[in-house]
Subunit: 199 residues, 2 copies
C-alpha cells in the first residue's frame, strides 16, 4: 500500500485513513484528535481526507462499523466451526489483542460513548445490546441441548462474559507489572472454564 503520496487508489487510501484513524483515536480518544492530524499521518491534505470521509464523525463511524463487522464475522465463523461461544469470544479477543491500537481505541471510545451526546453512543448501545442478545440466545440453545448446566441464568452469564472481555482489556493498559496480551487471553480462558461447567 502506498504511503506518503497523494495518488493511492481510492480503496487503498480509505483503508490507510482508517488504519491511521484507529492509531490516532487509540492514542488520544475521539476528542483528542483532529482531521488535520489524521490527514498528515496519511501524507495527504485535510481536503483530501474529507473527500473520502465527510467529517471526523463519519470517519469514526466507518471505522467502528468495519471493526464490528470483522469481529462479528470472526465470531460467527468460529461459533459455526466449534459450536462454542467461548471459543468464538476468545478468537475475537485474540485477534484484537494482536493489535493493541485497536483494543486501546475500543476501550477508550466505548467509555467515552457512555455520554448520550457522544457521536458513537447509539452505535455502542446497539452493539452491546446485539452481542448480549445473541450470546444469551446461544447459551439458551446450549442449555436445551444439554451442553451447559441448566441452573445458570443465561442473561447474567452473557453479561458476565462480555464484562470479562472488556475489563481484562482495560487491565492490559493499567497494570504496571505489565500484563501481556497472551496472559490476558489466558486469564479469559481460565475464567470461562470456571464459569461454564459442562452438563
Amino acid at each position: 500500500m502506498s504511503t506518503g503520496n497523494g495518488y493511492a487508489p481510492g480503496r487503498a487510501r480509505q483503508q490507510q485513513i482508517l488504519a491511521e484513524a484507529t492509531r490516532a483515536f487509540g492514542r488520544a480518544g475521539f476528542d483528542g484528535v483532529t482531521v488535520q492530524e489524521i490527514a498528515e499521518a496519511c501524507g495527504i491534505s485535510r481536503q483530501g481526507l474529507l473527500h473520502h470521509f465527510a467529517s471526523k464523525e463519519d470517519l469514526l463511524m466507518a471505522l467502528l462499523r468495519q471493526r464490528d463487522e470483522a469481529d462479528e464475522e470472526l465470531f460467527r465463523r468460529t461459533l459455526a466451526d466449534s459450536g462454542s461461544p467461548f471459543r468464538a469470544i476468545l478468537a475475537v479477543v485474540r485477534a484484537n489483542a494482536a493489535a493493541p491500537a485497536i483494543t486501546a481505541m475500543f476501550t477508550q471510545l466505548a467509555a467515552e460513548a457512555i455520554r448520550p451526546e457522544h457521536p458513537a453512543h447509539d452505535f455502542f448501545r446497539g452493539v452491546y445490546t446485539r452481542i448480549h442478545t445473541d450470546l444469551r440466545g446461544t447459551l439458551m440453545d446450549m442449555q436445551r441441548e444439554g451442553t451447559l448446566v441448566a441452573s445458570i441464568d443465561p442473561d447474567q452469564l452473557a453479561s458476565g462474559l462480555i464484562a470479562l472481555r472488556d475489563g481484562l482489556a482495560l487491565q492490559l493498559f493499567l497494570r504496571s507489572e505489565g500484563q501481556s496480551a497472551e496472559e490476558m487471553t489466558g486469564t479469559l480462558e481460565a475464567m470461562f472454564s470456571l464459569l461454564v461447567p459442562r452438563s
Copy 2:
C-alpha cells in the same frame, strides 16, 4: 451545606467542589470540562475555585484519591467483618452503583487514563496494581485456610474479579434494554458464586 453563596466554610466548599467536579467529569470526561464550568456549578468564581485546588489536574487527583480512600476503607472493613473478598468487592460496587455519576466518572477516567500522558495514568496504574496484589494475596490466604479450592490460579482469579467489576459498570450505560444498578450487582454476585467454588 450552603450552595450558591461565596461564603461556605473551607471544608464544606471543598466537598462541594469535589461533588460538582465528579458530576462534570462523569458527564464529559476530564478533557471535556473547564475549571470555569465547575466553578459556575458551585456558584463561585474561577479564582475562588483555584484558591482550593491549584489546577484542574490537582482537583482531579484530589477527587480520585478521596474516592479511592473511601472505596479502600469500605473494602477493608467489609473484608474484616465477613472474611470474604467477594462480599467486600460487592459492598464497594453497591456503594458506587447508588451514585451513577461516580461510576460514570471512574469508567470514563480509567479508560482515558490508558494513555501514558494522561494526568491520572500513574494514579490508575498504581490503584490497579495495588488492588490486584491485595486481592491475589487474600485469595492465596483463603487457599491456605482451605476456604477456596486450590486448583484456581489466584493471579488469574484476581484479574477476573476486577474485570467483572469494570466490565459490568460499562454495561450499566451501554445496554439499551436498560440494565439497572441492582441487576448489575446481582449479575456480579452470580458470577462470583460460579467463579469461586468453596473447598
